[in-house]
């Protein structure tokens, strides 16, 4: 077999893995691979303006499409700039392969120019990582990296590529399939456990399905819906789970947790059976753990055994792929003799109770004259886009309002940093999503704080001609922290008030994009309509009520029933 250089191996492996687009930024230690990509010409390279943007874009691409997102950056600062993006993907189980350049192997450990131990730095925030020391190992490492990133509970994998490895030569044996003796994720759930779960479902009178991001990752939304509908069981979703079950469905209780609906939190607190699917009982969901769902038995399906029994005691653990587990559970329902009418009858009282809670405290906000309410902007956006847009968010109030007031009916339509809570995620993620779906409408819902964290990517959006729409809910505050200060720190607004905010319309224009601004409620509809119609990237800035809060709210460390309502 003819020998191949390391850089060509990378290009060849990426093609075989079906990679169509790479997000990255060049540098001395990665120049050879950029050169090889350019010569080959098959894979699109998106040049970002900051490596953090590349990782979020790859992440957004992966979340929107379900494919592996790929990044290519140089050594040293190029590599360290990817850390936040990698940690973001790790916390939300997003498949990603990040390739970093590295100084030649002979110089490693010598504090060479632009040298950093990126494998050491990213060890705790990658699913796995590799330093390639010999070009002979490269094909296998590339194969393993993609396999590990996308299988089991997905996650980011980093490959550190020393310059001499990129230029060294070896035979290129690239297997179609691999088996790793130390890495065997369990896909097939234990049928006995599924039967035990079904017995609990049959006994329950107040069941609730608690669906997380795992449902979306596993592509289990149809099976989830089948289970909910066939057994007439209501569904609440985590932030990561929104879209796993239609938000407009009769059985949807919307989001639960810190800023979840009153109805969803009351449902969890009073239920006698929680069916957790691909969710991990995060502290933002459970509130004070001792007071969480004290009356409920818990069935927990997850592909990652560490998620089970980590925060709460589980009665029936089911380790495996959520889609298969749900499918088997639905089969168990169908094989049983309980009719649809009987299921309805059994849960009638419970569903009526939920409905009453929902009517008592629905998600709502007070309209006031003269000021723009952020919730209204989101509601209007939902209406005008008919719920069909891919929404990305930043982190903070903008994220929670988006989650509460945009109804997500389809999976992979809300892209948001849930676990890590990374401000500056939404805009580059929108770039990735738009690359994956050039014809879909992609909207980033941002705050004036978050958008400034990666605003440099405006240049990338312009260069790639990506018609992303950016909604900036501008309250000249770091609003979520301000809200905590208002509620728990006697309104001492320490370090949250922006004395200076840039003119976002002018920023848009400076990049050659279009900008619109609404400062009065009556301008909102018009700005949204114009903004959505305009070609190319558009910034729509809304001067919103400055001290508007996100409600309901469960204060950190309190029980989820102790909600602060509007």
């Amino acid at each position: 077999m003819a020998k191949m250089t390391g850089k060509d191996m990378v290009v060849e492996a990426l093609k075989r893995e079906g990679v169509e687009v790479i997000f990255g930024f060049p540098g001395g230690a990665i120049i050879d691979i950029n050169d090889a990509l350019e010569k080959d010409g098959t894979i699109k390279f998106v040049l970002v303006r900051h490596e953090q943007g590349a990782t979020h874009a790859a992440d957004g691409y992966a979340r929107a499409s379900g494919k592996v997102g790929v990044c290519l950056v140089t050594s040293g600062p190029g590599a360290t700039n990817t850390v936040t993006g990698i940690a973001t993907a790790y916390m939300d189980s997003i498949p990603m392969v990040v390739m970093t350049g590295q100084v030649p192997t002979a110089l490693i450990g010598n504090d060479a120019f632009q040298e950093v131990d990126i494998v050491g730095i990213t060890r705790p925030c990658t699913k796995h990582n590799f330093l390639v020391k010999d070009v002979k190992d490269l094909p296998m490492i590339l194969k393993e990296a993609f396999y590990i990133a996308r299988s089991g509970r997905p996650g980011p994998v980093l490959i550190d590529l020393p310059k001499d490895v990129q230029n060294g030569k070896a035979e290129f044996n690239y297997p179609d399939e691999i088996h790793l003796r130390s890495y065997n994720p369990v896909f097939e759930p234990h049928i006995k456990q599924v039967r035990r779960a079904y017995r609990l479902i049959k006994k329950a009178r107040k069941p609730v399905i608690y669906a997380g991001g795992g449902v979306i990752i596993a592509g289990a939304h149809n099976e989830l819906r089948a289970l909910a509908e066939s057994t007439q069981t209501p569904v609440t979703m985590t932030l990561m789970g929104l879209g796993a079950f239609p938000g407009t469905h009769r059985l949807s209780l919307n989001m639960l947790g810190m800023h979840g609906s009153y109805c969803a939190n009351m449902a969890m607190a009073n239920s006698d059976l929680i069916i957790a699917v691909g969710a991990r009982f995060d502290d933002r969901v459970t509130g004070k753990i001792e007071a969480f769902a004290t009356k409920a038995k818990i069935v927990h399906m997850d592909i990652d055994p560490t998620s089970i029994q980590k925060n709460v005691k589980v009665d029936v653990p089911i380790v495996g792929d959520c889609r298969i587990a749900l499918e088997k559970l639905v089969e168990a329902v169908r094989e049983d003799s309980v009719t649809a009418e009987e299921w309805s009858e059994r849960h009638r009282g419970w569903l009526e109770q939920l409905d009453a809670w929902n009517k008592r405290h629905p998600l709502h906000y007070k309209q006031e004259s003269g000021v723009i309410k952020p919730q209204y902007v989101i509601e209007k956006l939902y209406e005008m886009t008919k719920g069909k847009a891919i929404i990305t968010t930043e982190v903070g109030q903008n994220q929670m309002w988006a989650a509460q007031f945009y109804k997500f009916d389809e999976p992979r339509t809300l892209l948001s940093s849930g676990g890590l809570g990374t401000m500056g995620y939404g805009f580059p993620a929108a770039i990735g999503a738009q690359m994956a779906f050039p014809d879909k409408l992609v909207v980033d819902i941002a705050g004036d704080g978050s958008i400034q964290m990666n605003i440099q990517e405006m240049a990338t959006a312009m260069e790639q001609r990506l018609p992303i729409k950016i909604i900036i809910l501008n309250n000249q505050f770091l609003g979520m922290v301000r809200q905590w200060q208002e509620l728990f720190y006697d309104r001492r607004y320490a370090a949250t008030k922006f004395e200076m905010t840039p003119d976002f319309v002018k920023i848009a224009e400076a990049y050659g994009a279009t900008g619109f601004r609404a400062t009065k409620p009556e301008e909102v509809d018009d700005v949204l309509a114009k903004g959505l119609e305009t070609d190319g990237p558009v910034v729509m800035e809304f001067a919103i009520a400055r001290e508007e809060g996100v409600f309901p709210m469960v204060p950190a460390g309190k029980a989820t029933t102790e909600m602060l309502l509007v």
Partner: protein, 161 residues
């Protein structure tokens, strides 16, 4: 409760660091840690002594298993097992105590592995409790230095009667 875990890991650079990083990052305890190659040179055994309630130990085992480099985790303490540790103890041995140290070594079946005019270096092997007893008894005589290997362990073979 104290648990001794036997962890088989791929013999790759960074594997040890992944494991110790997991313990520090998640706030788990490590009492001792001992690593060496196995008969299969591509695998290493890592014997790790940790403590925590059942909930924590379950998490530790699951988290270890989640690491891509970890081949197998066995909680040795779950069944019958043998456990050994070795210590080298440099103890003062001058005129009046020289004989006493040797007597003590004899009782505990320790070996003297180095001799100087003022010290003996004693090798002691056994379960943790034995090491503790030897150290306690030698302390009044004067221990100058001590190094320990950490615990290694093995499951007992099932015996048929």
């Amino acid at each position: 409760m104290r648990h001794t875990l036997s962890v088989l890991v791929e013999n790759t650079p960074g594997a040890l660091s992944r494991i110790t990083g997991l313990f520090s990052g998640r706030g788990f305890n490590i009492e001792s840690l001992c690593v060496a190659a196995t008969l299969d040179p591509t695998l290493s055994t890592l014997t790790l002594v940790t403590y925590g309630d059942d909930f924590i130990i379950e998490q530790i085992i699951k988290q270890l298993n989640r690491l891509v480099d970890v081949y197998k985790v066995i909680d040795v303490t779950e069944g019958e097992f043998v456990e050994r540790e070795m210590a080298l103890i440099k103890v003062k041995a001058e005129a009046e105590t020289r004989a006493e140290v040797l007597r003590m070594c004899d009782i505990f079946r320790c070996k003297v592995v180095d001799v100087s005019s003022k010290t003996y270096t004693v090798e002691v092997t056994g379960p943790k409790s034995k090491l503790k007893a030897v150290i306690e008894l030698l302390t009044p005589i004067g221990i100058k230095e001590i190094t320990r290997t950490g615990t290694i362990a093995m499951i007992r073979e099932k015996k048929t009667v």
